[in-house]
């Protein structure tokens, strides 16, 4: 296939960027989207131009490193990560627009690479269970009902890619944050920190400059791991419950 790519090029966070047009030829439908960009980059290097920078690592859809907005959709037209999107979902002759995640909380580092460290700070504000090494009781001391274990697992699947923020018209991190809150708050091990966790994480989320949620639902549509929209409701419930209980929140 031959394709026209319009890619956001921006040298650094300080410099202005623009969409730039490239042509790629002989793209195999079996290539992944990132492999297609590899082909482009190899050509650019030999032509003496700067290759396109993008984040990636596992290329298996699990590390959450990759992510770009393809034709206006986070991770492109399929419900998967960019590294697992294959070129067979495009047509010969297509023009494809490629842009970085756009959100105030995710400043562009270069080209398609953005800084998602805000997510790490949200996790640091309570997205854990305090269990210092060696202090753990025998694993079978607390049985976890299968249903709770399944709910926890489903939410723990979030790969922290940031597609939810990129897709949300408000650049909101509600889906990401709710995934972790629901994961930990549905387990008995997570119960002691249930209130401080949600208060801390929501405060951090706001502090990092993510927008609020207007229940648009784009996030859940874009999420490659299928974190469901009602998880946001579950987090809201936890949050209001924590406020009612007046648990010490962290600001």
């Amino acid at each position: 296939m031959n394709l026209t790519l319009r890619i956001w090029r921006q040298r650094s966070s300080e410099q202005a960027g623009a969409m730039t047009t490239y042509e790629v030829r002989d793209i195999s439908p079996d290539m992944s989207f990132l492999e297609m960009l590899d082909v482009l980059n190899e050509e650019l290097i030999l032509r003496g131009e700067d290759p396109v920078a993008f984040d990636h690592d596992c290329r298996e859809g699990i590390c959450g490193a990759c992510g770009m907005v393809i034709n206006g959709q986070a991770h492109g037209p399929e419900r998967t990560t960019t590294c697992q999107l294959h070129m067979r979902h495009f047509q010969d002759g297509d023009t494809i627009d490629v842009e970085p995640w756009r959100a105030a909380a995710f400043p562009v580092v270069r080209d398609l690479v953005v800084d998602r460290s805000a997510f790490d700070r949200v996790i640091g504000a309570g997205g854990y269970i305090t269990a210092p090494t060696g202090s753990a009781p025998e694993a079978h001391a607390t049985p976890v009902p299968k249903e709770a274990a399944d709910t926890a697992f489903e939410h723990a699947e979030c790969i922290g890619c940031g597609a939810c923020v990129a897709a949300c018209p408000n650049g909101s991190a509600m889906l990401f944050t709710s995934a972790k809150v629901v994961h930990l708050n549905s387990l008995p091990q997570g119960a002691p920190e249930r209130e401080s966790r949600v208060l801390g994480m929501v405060a951090a989320m706001d502090e990092q400059g993510f927008g609020g949620c207007t229940n648009t639902g784009e996030c859940a549509t874009a999420c490659p791991k299928g974190i469901p929209l009602p998880s946001i409701a579950a987090m809201n419930r936890e949050y209001l419950r924590a406020l009612r209980k007046g648990a010490p929140g962290r600001v």
Binding site: A103, L199, G211, T214, T221, R237, G246, G249, R250
Partner: protein, 234 residues
């Protein structure tokens, strides 16, 4: 470790108003109160089909609620105060959140996202502004009578009939009712989500309920101008 150093105890209310989720909760709470009022209001309005006597005395009765504990019209003023507070809180929260939301996406995508959210979802902000303007106009029209072609205190039936003889008033009302329908269609489900009442098992039921509620309220309200226009009520 120094985990405790950042622990502070702001009051729950301050935390509520200070966080995005909290502000949204205020919107949802006030929205639901207004919604309850509108359901009652709509049912009340439908009394217009029983003729001027019934309707006017119903309006008069409204002013006697709570008597003799409350003075004449006190209940109404309480309700008005509450509703004004709701509109103001709802509007201020909406305004502040909208600004924040816009700031969180400073640069738009060159390739606009194919619209996927429903029309109702995307029109919440403008729809809300339309509703706000409508409410001001509506109060000047039917409560104070300032803008009403007739505007006679104690005769709402006649005022309404006078109103809907005018084509552009019909237009304004009907447009506002459609805006209301859309606002509720997303708003009701959204409020359930915000207040944490939604869950995976309830999601579909809540969406269906929102559609029914929006349709019933819009139809219920629109019936009045339509009835006047068709001469069913005069």
């Amino acid at each position: 470790m120094a985990l405790a150093t950042r622990t502070a105890h702001p009051s729950a209310l301050r935390t509520l108003w200070g966080s995005t989720i909290g502000k949204k909760t205020v919107m949802a709470g006030t929205g639901v109160i207004m919604l309850l009022f509108l359901i009652a209001h709509m049912l009340g309005n439908l009394k217009i089909f029983f003729g001027p006597g019934d309707f006017n005395s119903y309006a008069a009765w409204l002013r006697t609620i709570g008597q003799p504990v409350l003075h004449h019209s006190w209940y109404l003023w309480l309700q008005r105060t509450a509703l004004v507070a709701c509109v103001v809180l709802h509007g201020v929260a909406a305004y502040q959140l909208s600004r924040r939301d816009r700031a969180a996406r400073p640069q738009r995508y060159a390739h606009r996202q194919p619209a996927r959210g429903s029309y109702a979802t995307r029109t919440m902000r403008w729809g809300g502004v339309i509703l706000g303007l409508f409410i001001v106009w509506h109060i000047l029209d039917l409560t104070t009578g300032t803008l009403n072609p007739r505007g006679e205190a104690g005769h709402p039936y006649e005022d309404i009939v006078a109103d809907f003889q005018v084509w552009y008033v019909d237009l304004i009302y009907i447009a506002a009712m459609l805006a209301l329908g859309l606002h509720i269609r997303h708003g009701f489900w959204s409020a359930a989500q915000t207040l944490g009442a939604n869950s995976r098992t309830r999601d579909r039921a809540l969406k269906a309920a929102a559609n029914v509620l929006a349709a019933v309220l819009t139809a219920g309200f629109v019936l009045v101008p339509v009835a006047v226009m068709t001469g069913l009520v005069n």
